[in-house]
Subunit: 304 residues, 2 copies
């Protein structure tokens, strides 16, 4: 149901919730479908793959560009997070994105903002344990974006798998009329997952960074060979990470894809998820076993 | 912009989110507006006044009837809460309600539901202090109803003023495309605010119940006469409540209408709010000074 992309045409840019919603409603009342790709800008080939998948999923594509303050912790990189709006709009134009929602902070958070989306099962482990409050910020801003753009489908990258699964849970629990698609991680040729934060890496750290992917791949290999002792699987990955001088491991864990907890039922899909730090840069990545499991499961409550 | 009500015609009844949303979208894409009146059933004249106000506010009226388990605390009256669906549907028909959304519990809460709306400013005092978790349950179910029915406007009664102000705050903070209207409390001739819980009252307690309204009225009189010492205002109300044998006071408080905290800026609208218990029945009520302040303030972010 993809329409004609017009690569190179500059997308419509909206700055207020009222304006983008009016456009969205007019578009959809013509029975067309809308896909949203929420981003924090600093767009790379991973985002471009999301735009392309979005075009396959709906008649028009909206990108949002907003560095969401509430998902950064006190010591994190909010102020230094890369902001490259002109290049981002050019990338959107090249990918045939139809409209961009690029709001100011105050249009999204009133000075006395006090309402949050909290999730108390999937959000507690992995990234949630290391970054308290992070997912509350993510879910809240994504819900605001959904309420504003009113998409039929929204796309997220597998690299942030816990985020993607949490947003699916939110869509289901809050009866949101939005399907959540998760697109495969795009990687450099040496396996490093693309991330806006990769540009922070020094030459030496960039050279070391693919160790995370290597460790995850080693874990998957063990799982695929039939190993069911998760401690042994994790130890094989840790051995690879520990061999990299200066690399610090936040976690490397095998979890049940549905609960994000320690696997109890061996028949269910698994996620091997890891987070490491190289200098001041934090990298995350994951692998799903079996590989197709993530695309298969669905989403919110959509009439379409 | 009211359409022709057809009193006596039985409303369409929908049980699943998908069904009511499909009806709502088809209706609204014809450029018509929808009003939602969320209820827990056990409809009385206060709900009927909301249906009538809803008809003035939009082209069609949807009532939801759902006794929301998550807003009841462990020791509260969930299991005994009155359930009168047949009479409720008859009342909806008489008031010309166009569609009723009466879902089952499982359509609203999956067994592993884990996503909540939390508010950390307006929800902490008054009812929130006495009923921990209550407003988290209220906000979560109201958001689900909004996502399902997709109304342009939703109506709530002033009797539950903290709830109404919290829903307005949620609508603003989450950029919901819904205007929140608050309709005046409907009272018995002796001043008692209508409530589904009034039917629990014994004859003796029913006779004593108007004391709450009398106490609030005495507070308002003092405020209108220029008294600015809130302790003195509250004491005047407490004197009336304390004179009722067996009546227990949860709170009687004067608060700033915008923050629901102790008034600091004397130029702003005030709420006198009270909660009392007579036997096992809990009654709440409030008065706003000046009386028009509540209707004046607005709501979410609506394109209309």
């Amino acid at each position: 149901m993809s329409s004609n992309p017009q690569p190179g045409r500059r997308p419509l840019v909206y700055e207020t919730p009222l304006a983008i919603r009016a456009w969205s409603r007019a578009f959809r009342c013509g029975q067309k479908t809308l896909a949203l790709v929420p981003t924090m800008g600093a767009l790379h080939a991973g985002h471009r793959a999301l735009f392309q998948a979005a075009r396959q999923a709906a008649d028009a594509v909206v990108a949002s560009i907003f560095v969401n303050p509430s998902q950064f912790g006190p010591g994190e990189d909010l102020s230094s997070y890369p902001r490259t709006l002109d290049a981002d709009l050019a990338a959107c134009a090249e990918e045939g994105v139809d409209a961009v929602f690029a709001p100011t902070g105050l249009a999204v958070y009133a000075a006395d903002h006090s309402t949050w989306v909290c999730e108390d099962a999937l959000a507690s482990g992995l990234e949630g344990a290391i970054r308290p409050g992070h997912f509350q910020g993510v879910l809240t801003v994504v819900l605001k974006l959904f309420n504003t753009v009113e998409p039929d489908v929204a796309l997220f990258g597998q690299k942030d798998i816990q985020q993607a699964l949490l947003i699916r849970r939110m869509a289901r629990d809050l009866l949101l009329p939005v399907d959540i698609h998760v697109a495969p991680t795009v990687r450099e040729t040496d396996g490093l997952a693309l991330s806006s934060r990769n540009r922070y890496l020094s030459v030496e750290h960039r050279r070391q960074a693919p160790a995370l992917w290597k460790a995850l791949s080693a874990c998957r290999e063990l799982l695929e060979s039939g190993e069911r002792n998760m401690k042994r699987v994790e130890a094989a990955g840790m051995e690879i990470l520990d061999s990299v001088p200066g690399l610090k491991v936040d976690y490397l864990q095998v979890v049940d894809m549905e609960t994000l907890e320690e696997p109890r039922n061996m028949g269910r899909p698994l996620v091997v998820a890891g987070a490491v730090r190289l200098g001041t840069t934090r990298l995350i990545d994951n692998i799903v076993c079996p590989p197709g499991a993530l695309a298969g499961s669905s989403s919110g409550v959509n009439a379409s």
